[in-house]
């Protein structure tokens, strides 16, 4: 399928799902339950608003969400206090599946949410969105409620602040356009149709989520897309334009670390798929530089992309979902 054909069939604007009364009726017909997971680390300034808006608009006024949970990596600020004061269920990531240990990273929180949360669909929304609005949730779950063949809905943000011409560039942020889309173009051209593959907002069916591994660091979104594409193809994806997203802007150096993690994940996938060969282990240290008193200094950051296995290979999860235990020495459920 050409990217243009896929885009025409699978790209939405959030306004297509703004009739919440109708969307909730459709949800009730399908019998689906939906959980919202907000992964956090020091987000006291924005988390209160997210919780209030989603609880009020999408649980009380329109029961689209069945559960709202904040899963925290160990914030030093009042993130958990603020979240619970506004009525969210709050969890420390380290307290979930303690027998599996704890890794610090957003991917860890997303992975543990699969165990902790109950919904048939899990929506992930980052906590640092300043202009939060119910569309961030209903825009993502809409395609899943209305189309049973869709399993993974990704957000993108396309409202320009001002543009006069009828043709304008569209796409993702700096890392997407400099790293991810060129890599997709090289190896998986169909995936270039996903406009912002790295966006932190997406909604996914549980049966898909529980069957894919989770890098705990920067590579989690990239690995999802590659793994879901490999198993289910492009038909599993849809994407929704959520207009504008106002958030903290990252410095180029921070994006360098992010790119390093993503690249590791990408190359690891290519090797495991047999697309490329690699005869040596990857280095996990990223080097950047600074100048102090006219002397160049190397800054070294160790960024290993540790991965959690698919949740449906974890005994405690299988037990909690009434699944039979795995055969020993088997990774297949």
């Amino acid at each position: 399928m050409s990217p243009d054909t896929w885009i025409n069939k699978n790209t939405y604007h959030h306004s297509a799902f703004a009739d919440l009364k109708e969307l909730v009726e459709e949800k009730e017909k399908t019998g689906l339950t939906i959980s919202l997971c907000i992964p956090t680390l020091n987000e006291e300034r924005t988390i209160g608003k997210e919780v209030v808006i989603f609880r009020s608009e999408l649980m009380h006024r329109y029961p689209l969400l069945d559960e709202i949970a904040v899963i925290d990596s160990g914030s030093k600020d009042r993130t958990l206090e603020v979240s619970s004061s506004f009525g969210a269920d709050t969890y420390l990531s380290a307290d979930i599946l303690p027998e599996e240990g704890f890794r610090k990273g957003k991917g860890e929180n997303l992975w543990k949410a699969i165990y902790q949360l109950k919904g048939d669909i899990i929506v992930y929304i980052d906590a640092d969105i300043k202009n939060i609005h119910p569309r961030f949730v209903y825009g993502l779950v809409g395609p899943l409620i209305k189309r049973s063949e869709v399993s993974y809905v990704k957000a993108f943000y396309d409202r320009p602040l001002a543009f006069s011409d009828s043709v304008r560039p569209s796409g993702g942020g700096r890392v997407t356009e400099i790293l991810t889309r060129p890599l997709f173009s090289l190896f998986f051209p169909e995936l270039t149709a996903i406009i912002q593959p790295l966006s932190g907002e997406y909604a996914v069916r549980r049966d898909v989520l529980e069957s894919i591994p989770f890098p705990v660091g920067y590579g989690v979104e990239t690995s999802h897309i590659l793994d879901v594409y490999r198993t289910h193809g492009m038909k599993a994806f849809a994407q929704t334009d959520l207009d504008q997203r106002v958030h903290r802007n990252q410095e180029t150096r921070a994006l360098g670390k992010m790119s390093f993690g993503i690249l590791q994940t990408f190359l690891t996938r290519l090797i495991s798929y047999g697309t490329i060969e690699n005869k040596q282990e990857f280095q996990t240290v990223l080097r950047q530089f600074q100048v102090r008193n006219n002397v160049y200094e190397t800054l070294e950051y160790d960024i290993p992309e540790y991965e959690r296995p698919p949740m449906n290979t974890i005994d405690a999860y299988r037990k909690s979902r009434g699944m039979p235990p795995l055969q020993k020495n088997s990774l297949e459920p």
Binding site: G48, V52, E57
Partner: protein, 397 residues
């Protein structure tokens, strides 16, 4: 309650006051919805004359809540009606949609456990949010009124908007309003039932291009405007009737070392006497003319808005009941004259009162804030007042 009421009415009115504690408890649940609506309202910029996006949000809310005649008029006022059981009388509940802040300002709201912070939250996003949630608030306490409730988000209220939106509605709405309640975010306990005389004016000072700097030994617009300000401050003001001149805003100059050729001063004259407002306006006009002849610059006085003084008496039943409601809620009433929506209503002979919904700080600043906890009391105050108006407890004999 005053003596012209029947025993049944007195009993009904008393029961409203007695229900206040229950209202507060039951309305704590709806506070979250009010907060969430307030955040969404606030994050849509709505400077005066540019309220249409915020109006769209509010009318969508009204439509979702299945209010009658939910609509936006040509002034960007938003109206919706909660029909009463009998529908013989119409009670107006109004909140101004426009905000002091320009669209370029970051309107993001931060929610902390005890307060919400953001430019415009108290003036008047909270008022608009309560308006947009009122059907749910009434539903929460199973309150149905006999009268129609006409909910109105007014446009063009502030500054040079000069209440244009509300005036438009009052000119064109076909039925008389029994009474009106205006909602402001802060501060709870505020009761405004009288409007003071007001004139909002602008003084502009401009040095003509052909001006001969060497001949006049001029020091530029800022110094001359400063002289003008000193002259205004020298105008004697009477202690009674209460009168004040607020010098609210000034613009002048472009850089450290460029002689300023333009200056603008915006001010408001407020007085309990319309005659004194008129007299002060004449004096300032005279000062402007005098400055023109003295400096050769063009100094012009422009009237932007004017309100006449008026209102109901302290002892009017609407005000008496409002004070009793606040006392029952353990809130000390603070009687404050107003220059806002109230004056347009008063000028049409509609008994009207402005109430505050919670406490807050830094009004008009970027870190404007409202307290979350007292909102339940603010809501209880509102519903009790509406019920009292509906039952006739606030009618004059």
């Amino acid at each position: 309650m005053t003596s012209h009421y029947t025993d049944t009415m007195i009993s009904n009115c008393r029961s409203i006051i007695d229900s206040l504690d229950d209202y507060v408890i039951h309305l704590e649940d709806i506070r979250e919805t009010v907060l969430s609506t307030m955040v969404m309202v606030n994050e849509i910029p709505a400077p005066t004359f540019k309220e249409s996006a915020r109006a769209k949000f509010l009318v969508d809310r009204f439509s979702e809540l299945e209010m009658l005649h939910a609509s936006v008029d040509e002034m960007s006022n938003v109206m919706g009606i909660i029909p009463g059981k009998k529908g013989k009388r119409d009670i107006l509940v109004a909140a101004h949609l426009d905000s002091l802040f320009d669209s370029t300002v970051d309107h993001t709201v931060t929610l902390e456990p005890s307060m919400a912070i953001g430019p415009g939250v108290s003036d008047n996003s909270l008022g608009v949010a309560v308006l947009g949630t009122l059907p749910l608030i009434l539903e929460r306490i199973d309150m149905e009124l006999d009268a129609n409730l006409v909910l109105l988000g007014t446009s063009r209220s502030l500054g040079s908007g000069d209440l244009e939106g509300l005036r438009f509605v009052l000119e064109h709405y076909k039925k008389p309003f029994t009474a009106a309640v205006c909602l402001e975010g802060i501060k709870i306990g505020r009761l405004s039932f009288s409007s003071i005389g007001m004139l909002r004016g602008e003084l502009t000072y401009r040095i003509p291009e052909q001006y001969d700097w060497s001949k006049f030994n001029s020091v530029g617009a800022i110094v001359d405007m400063n002289d003008m300000i000193n002259r205004i401050l020298e105008i004697p003001l009477p202690r009674k009737p209460n009168t004040t001149i607020v010098l609210g805003q000034m613009e002048a100059g472009t850089s450290y070392n460029t002689m300023p050729i333009k200056a603008t001063l915006r001010f408001e004259i407020r007085s309990e006497s319309d005659e004194i407002v008129e007299d002060l306006a004449k004096k300032i006009t005279f000062l402007a003319e005098e400055m023109t002849s003295k400096t050769g610059a063009l100094v012009k006085f422009k009237e932007i808005a004017r309100r006449k003084s008026g209102g109901t008496d302290f002892s009017h039943p609407l005000n008496t009941v409002s004070r009793e409601i606040l006392k029952k809620l353990d809130i000390t009433p603070r009687i404050t004259p107003s220059t806002s929506e109230l004056s347009a209503l008063i000028s049409k002979g509609i008994p009207a009162i402005t109430i505050g919904l919670t406490n807050g700080e830094n009004a008009g600043e970027l870190d404007e804030s409202v307290e979350i906890k007292p909102i339940s009391k603010g809501l209880a105050q509102l519903v009790a007042l509406l019920k009292a108006i509906d039952l006739g407890c606030t009618d004059e004999s």
